[in-house]
Symmetry: D3
Subunit: 145 residues, 6 copies
């Protein structure tokens, strides 16, 4: 689905389908990244923390939260980077996440006149509509030829 | 290994052990996140791109790059967020990554007088010492009681 | 265990050992196939459906149901295909499956005089002996030399 | 994307994106199903077969081939079953698969007057456009209210 | 397949089917155990070692080598332990392993008169018939009632 | 962290961080090893055994128990083997394991005068401090040059 820089509308918004975070996801993420911190993989330790249970890795909430948006490809845009990645609330086993993407702003790119920068605000929401992750995804989108 | 805000020294640097990114990692990451974009999982498509081969997901380079730093736990610090996440070079199957962490700056946290903010510059390097990922990891570290 | 076309007896039956379908199996199957339909991976969505909970992918019930039969190899037979694959009941997390294989019929193969077709009726049963999957597995077996 | 029985057009066709079958997929599928037949997991044995190398499990080609079609959900249709599942050519490590779905026919469903049967011919193609799998997917789609 | 203590014959021998150790197996094992030692996951590091390449974890050779023997269950015997676990040769990616099990000796069990101890010598062989792992598996088998 | 034969002190002890054994770990281990014995993967069968529930594979308790100790590398020592591997208690889903390593003895190695043998007693403990696994890990450590 080709979308040029000119086609992005500030304020446009979409919400992805949902996905339940399982104990399996946490075990796979620990093994995938090598991060076996006890907050994620030791239920006895986690019981003593302020959260009272194991919590998801921030890197996993980011990977799955962004992965949920990967249902459509725009062949004339690519990722430049991410800013302001924050985790306002913990994610627990059994939470169901979906991602709300809002076009936040558009900017000229001084170095690349054939492209423009599109900033997508990505909010990962849980089943209580709480924001558990926020970041700004910066795209470089081609201008219409 | 307890490290208080006062203990962090700007300029201090450590480099993690290395890890080779395999085709397996990419397949696992696609399945873990649901991101099956052809740049990552379709070798025929990838052959036609500017890179000539499949590339790692940015979310994976981030997850594994940060995971490599998870060998030591500081019980009096926690992650506040990440800024300026960028991917200056692609990561290919067979590249070996390690992460260089440099204490970049320390700041008072206006809202939390008992904590300070520590900014770690995280650079993920490949086997040719090229920076394939950069981000700034913001920690909140307790001040010495 | 070599078994020629002549050795198969119509009506012969075997039942495999059992295997409990876990949440892990569903998460792995979603990632393995890229099928993240909310019926399988979104517990909130699934709560609203007629089943009230997540259900297994049909492709997984097939793969595991047939996999359960893979304990013995017949070097002189190979799979020609499957017919009439049906899913009369849903499979839920926690169900324990086993497969009942019955030799249903034997046929000459008009194009391959050295082989015959053997049709195995495969029924996947849950712990309440309900048939959750049915298919007919068509084998081509060598005739005795 | 709601599509009623009346909306399906016989002859309509779509082709999915592609996916390269990796050694990882075969190892994961063997572990997921418990089918460790040497044709799939023993490279020394496979070297002696007519194919000269390891081949994918039929159940995997089916699961991934159908999974590739799972990019769009029709909330008013569901799977009734699959017929005539065949594997005309082997799938090797490194092959890139995509699935071509053609609406083959539409039928009234004698027992369910509010639904109709839609038969989708699913062909899994490799990078040389050879059909490596064929099946007929039978959907039950609601009629327009 | 019920086998009582009296049924085991010293000197009896069986060889399992084979399985090729893949890069995938090593990546999965590292993630499963948390052992990311560079000998297993860092190809650049491994190139400098005496072996010139990554080697399998000893715990994986043991787990897969013993797993290969798990094709038949004896309901009247159970594992007491393992002795003399040794790794005379390294296992590399691409090696094909199978396990040769020889009944080495039988002993009365002084504390359990209804059982006897059976010692199975387990040798894991590679495709050049070199022993890459050795251990003695001690079973407790019921005596015939 | 280089430690020569002379540096090991008999009686020195360390305890690793903990890790909760999940249903996911058992499913992954079954698929990784091919051991689908019903004691591990069939909840209905397991309900009838003396333990009343599924139990972890011994090979998994060993792999994870030893993996927990893999947080520090000694470049001048390597594994010679393991002796007296025993499983005094079963491991259940939800148990949290950690490993206590005690230097049990040091021996000259008659064939390798530049090395010495160090025996580490490895005890895997559950959350009730019960020993669920015991083994003796034999290291060969270089003598100080």
């Amino acid at each position: 689905m080709t979308e040029y820089f000119e086609d992005y509308r500030v304020g446009a918004r979409r919400v992805t389908s949902g996905r339940t975070i399982t104990e399996t996801d946490i075990v796979i993420h620990a093994g995938h990244t090598g991060d076996f911190f006890p907050h994620h993989v030791d239920a006895e330790f986690a019981r003593q923390t302020q959260f009272g249970q194991r919590i998801a890795h921030g890197t996993m909430t980011f990977s799955i939260g962004i992965g949920l948006t990967a249902s459509q490809i725009n062949p004339v845009a690519f990722t430049y980077g991410y800013d302001k990645l924050r985790f306002p609330k913990p994610v627990f086993i059994g939470d169901t996440l979906r991602t709300r993407v809002t076009i936040k702003e558009k900017q000229e790119d001084p170095k690349r006149p054939a492209h423009g920068r599109v900033v997508e605000a990505c909010e990962v929401l849980n089943q209580r509509d709480e924001v558990v992750m926020y970041c700004e995804h910066i795209l470089l989108a081609s201008k219409r030829p």
